[in-house]
Symmetry: C2
Subunit: 334 residues, 2 copies
Amino acid sequence: MLSAFTTQFLLPRENQLFMYRPQIKVLDCTIRDGGLINKWQFSDELVRATYQAVSEAGVDYMEIGYKAPREMFDPKEYGKWRFCDEDDVKRVLDGLELKSKLACMVDIGRVNEADILPVRDSIFDMIRVACYVKDVDKGIALSNHLMDKGYEVTLNIMAVSTNLEKDIDEALAQLNDTAIPCVYVVDSYGSMYCEDITFLVKKYLQAMPNKTIGIHCHNNRQLAFGNTVQAIIDGANMLDASVYGIGRGAGNCTLELLLGFLKNPKYSLRPVLKLIQDYYLPLREEIEWGYLIPYMVTGMLNEHPRAGIEWRASENRDKYAEFYDTMVHSEMIE
Amino acid sequence: MLSAFTTQFLLPRENQLFMYRPQIKVLDCTIRDGGLINKWQFSDELVRATYQAVSEAGVDYMEIGYKAPREMFDPKEYGKWRFCDEDDVKRVLDGLELKSKLACMVDIGRVNEADILPVRDSIFDMIRVACYVKDVDKGIALSNHLMDKGYEVTLNIMAVSTNLEKDIDEALAQLNDTAIPCVYVVDSYGSMYCEDITFLVKKYLQAMPNKTIGIHCHNNRQLAFGNTVQAIIDGANMLDASVYGIGRGAGNCTLELLLGFLKNPKYSLRPVLKLIQDYYLPLREEIEWGYLIPYMVTGMLNEHPRAGIEWRASENRDKYAEFYDTMVHSEMIE
């Protein structure tokens, strides 16, 4: 039988051969990225069940939301995973064995550093910093601050597909001079093909040879899982995925496909399948994500899914040809 | 902007450079493969609209069904595209300009050679022969017969992922000695990763250096489009796809994604998007295909989707964890 054998590398380690690469880690971003659809209005029960299943499946990290200040987002409109208060997390996960490490994300300019406890007082192990290439100085400063507080930190460079190569190179050179241990290739718009993934992962590895490279893909063109596999082949070791692919617009690499692919025996698929049938199939009836033509079109055009999301919320939601016309014509700007 | 640039090869041809590979051809298998879901019970209107759109989109071939004998399949149960009578095709496409060439498929042992007219008397240009590795002698004999009648012929080796390499090699060596111009890599079970595609396309090309290699992928793990792109990179020039990915179980590589990827200006995406909104969104409400967990599981296990199709037709259809248990336990046979 053909298999993923060759991808997962036979690495000698303490005289033992593996069919997998032991350095690979998986991060579940279900609640954080999924919350972009419904303003993080998930029930406590769903979040708890998600943590339990993800943890039982052997997933290394679970990202449970964003840490944003209440002054910027109205708690009447946004659910608790927009804020990730320590007390909320502790209450919802109360009594569970915390096998998966807990992570949250912060956006440049949308975080109050004073809200973040030293790691020894926090339930979180990791904080991920999301920033654009142009903001990489701010991203580095924030990352340094978080590392000083004791957290594991990753820096996720968003929308890299919209930058000139010289600017990417400059950002990577700067990042190489920092202690940030992990930098992500992020296909924010779902616009990349496998060869784009290869190009960027190799570029990141070359520019930052001592860092772990992460991969976060969107599924606008049904490539999120395939591109994640490609990134593994190219050397990425930190992998983002979400349950049933939930995430804004077309969503992400699905956790179930990724766990079905990885050969490390610490991962198990069944808890995630049970979680999908119990919680995420019903949720998919209430809120929308996945392969839908408007997101395919924005991905193809290397655009933010915003226009697609607005279109799907309008009465024209299923008028795909008209959406395409709108996008292609509005694209023609010199 | 990052793009598929490097994939589509800058090939010198009559002193001109292209961003695409002119040899690439696309075959739409919407009605043929989609009919496996509903026993080819499509309305004439839908089939006509599909031909029109596919033709307008510049697709090179449209495969409209199987040519099977009425003695084997009851016409009360099976729609007309199970049989592909010349008169039916002519009537349904009456008055249309036949820009896309017409193809049909035949299965070894399910075709009456006497039913097939010489190409000069037929509306069909191409007949595709589907067979398993073990039946390759029969496939070659039937292909020779069809080539003698004047048809373009492809031979599609099904379920190649279930064969030992020595048997595949033997079949390819035999095929290399024939005049059959095109042989397909078929991922029948949606079980292949990109590296498996690379392995097989390169093997086929090496064993049959003068033939066109085709690719037909299934979408059990959201890899059908990505694997088709991988096959293009590796040298496949005949590409199967279907509208909105329709096809048995998880379905196929979607035609809209493929046309959005290819850079040859003869292809256009809009007619396919319009076709989806007018015909295939409503059809998807009636019959089921696409990424569904039972098909992900059969793909992962390199199994025929049969068990998944039965599960989806039962009252347990959404009990994914139980399906997984059933499949994994039934797999454990020595």
